[in-house]
Subunit: 297 residues, 2 copies
Amino acid sequence: MNKHILGIDWGTSNRRAYLIDQDGACLAEHEDGQGMLAVGGREHFGASLAGVLAAMKLPDDVPVIMSGMVGSASGWQEVSYLDASVPLEQLPRHLAAVTDPAWAGRAHIVPGYVYRNGAAADVMRGEETQLLGAVAQGHRDGWLVLPGTHSKWVLLRDGVIQSFATYMTGELFAMLSKGGTLSVMMDGDTANAEGFVTGLNQAARHEPLSNSLFRVRAGVVSRSAPAEQAAATISGLLIGAEFAAAARAAEGQGIAVIGSPALAARYAVAAEHFGLSCTVLDPHQVYCTAVSQFLKA
Amino acid sequence: MNKHILGIDWGTSNRRAYLIDQDGACLAEHEDGQGMLAVGGREHFGASLAGVLAAMKLPDDVPVIMSGMVGSASGWQEVSYLDASVPLEQLPRHLAAVTDPAWAGRAHIVPGYVYRNGAAADVMRGEETQLLGAVAQGHRDGWLVLPGTHSKWVLLRDGVIQSFATYMTGELFAMLSKGGTLSVMMDGDTANAEGFVTGLNQAARHEPLSNSLFRVRAGVVSRSAPAEQAAATISGLLIGAEFAAAARAAEGQGIAVIGSPALAARYAVAAEHFGLSCTVLDPHQVYCTAVSQFLKA
């Protein structure tokens, strides 16, 4: 049995690597911008991974476990989604061995999950590893929320996914900030408390986003709302839509948010607004706990 | 009294000019890309307008009536919004005279409308002129829909605006097509019938757009939905959100759509899907009718 394992959270734009021991302690870290898009084609992933080991001065034989877009159709090799009914703790049994001969036997990819509900489907890649860590830390039931570019709301029962939903919150916010009608009024503080609550309240009314967003602009140009609150209102509209959709199902329960301090703080405000208790889990710790599960397995 | 008037629909990116006689007949047309953004500052609007007259070989003394973003804070001169309670047929009494000495007495700007509902506001600039034309054509009651970059749904009673709502349908679709997670799967036909209805059905369930949009992607990557339907499904989600919001209020009534044939056809499909009858009005004819009202006034 190995004493150490290198876990890599290999996303679309970035990757983070953690050298973990059996207790889930992180012995070394590395982060760079060599996400899936930067690697530039599946034939380059092997060399790119060798670069991580070299940068971290690790021996060639350290086992590597990778999560995220590295396992997508545009990644190193496509790994089929597991059905949501497969318990998270069984993830170590479903790893895909990298077929690249230079890495065979040493490197594995964690599969994502698909959740099917009638004709509709939702998918995750990368978040399943965080969820495994949360389960190992004792969060086996209730709502786990992973905010970000594509926010995930996952309902667990005894360590098994009951359902999950993805919201393009971060991506839509970034798009609206970058160009178009609203971008000119989005340089205010996204954490402005009054603006954020205005957005949460509007989201709670389940009105269409395409209308609520325009009304942010209309409020500013008709001098009904201060321009400096616009960014926070839009953040509140987008985050509030997640809560408005999930809050009915989550009634009386709490949520656990796995997110950076700044983002988790915003979700904690929203949770209180929607009458939910909120626990915050550190994403790095959760990830390291998850990787240690693969070492133990 | 003048025999002719030049109406200019001066928007953000384009402008269209129509020489109209007292019967609303269009004697000449001109269209170019000199929208508000291209003019480049309020001191250039006078020369830009002179360019239209020159291009159309019109005498200097033809009266000019302008609608749209030309009257915004970033346009030629800011014209205050009228309250929605002012009847559309009174618009000719509320024109703003251009203060630029070179055009004083010859050029006027039609004011937009603001609709206030509690703390919320919605605004229009340009659409009020189309609405005046529709009213003059006998559409004094019920829902008028003006699809586009910022779709407007306007409820009229005896030629007076009861309420209106704006949806950033066209802008969001363009943004999603241009970049980000969904853009790679949006090169299919936006009018694909099956995809469009899939989107309309999802919109009817009032689920958050940020989730519905991600599920279009999830459907494609999990092989549950064909990629060639994605663009039409997204179009259906956005247009369907307008109908889902308004359909309850519009129950049993019909709508009149003032839009280009391609867009109006898509709205007619959606109207049938939501159980509403639908009349299509030609936007150029409606605009010319409106401008003739200013000539008569």
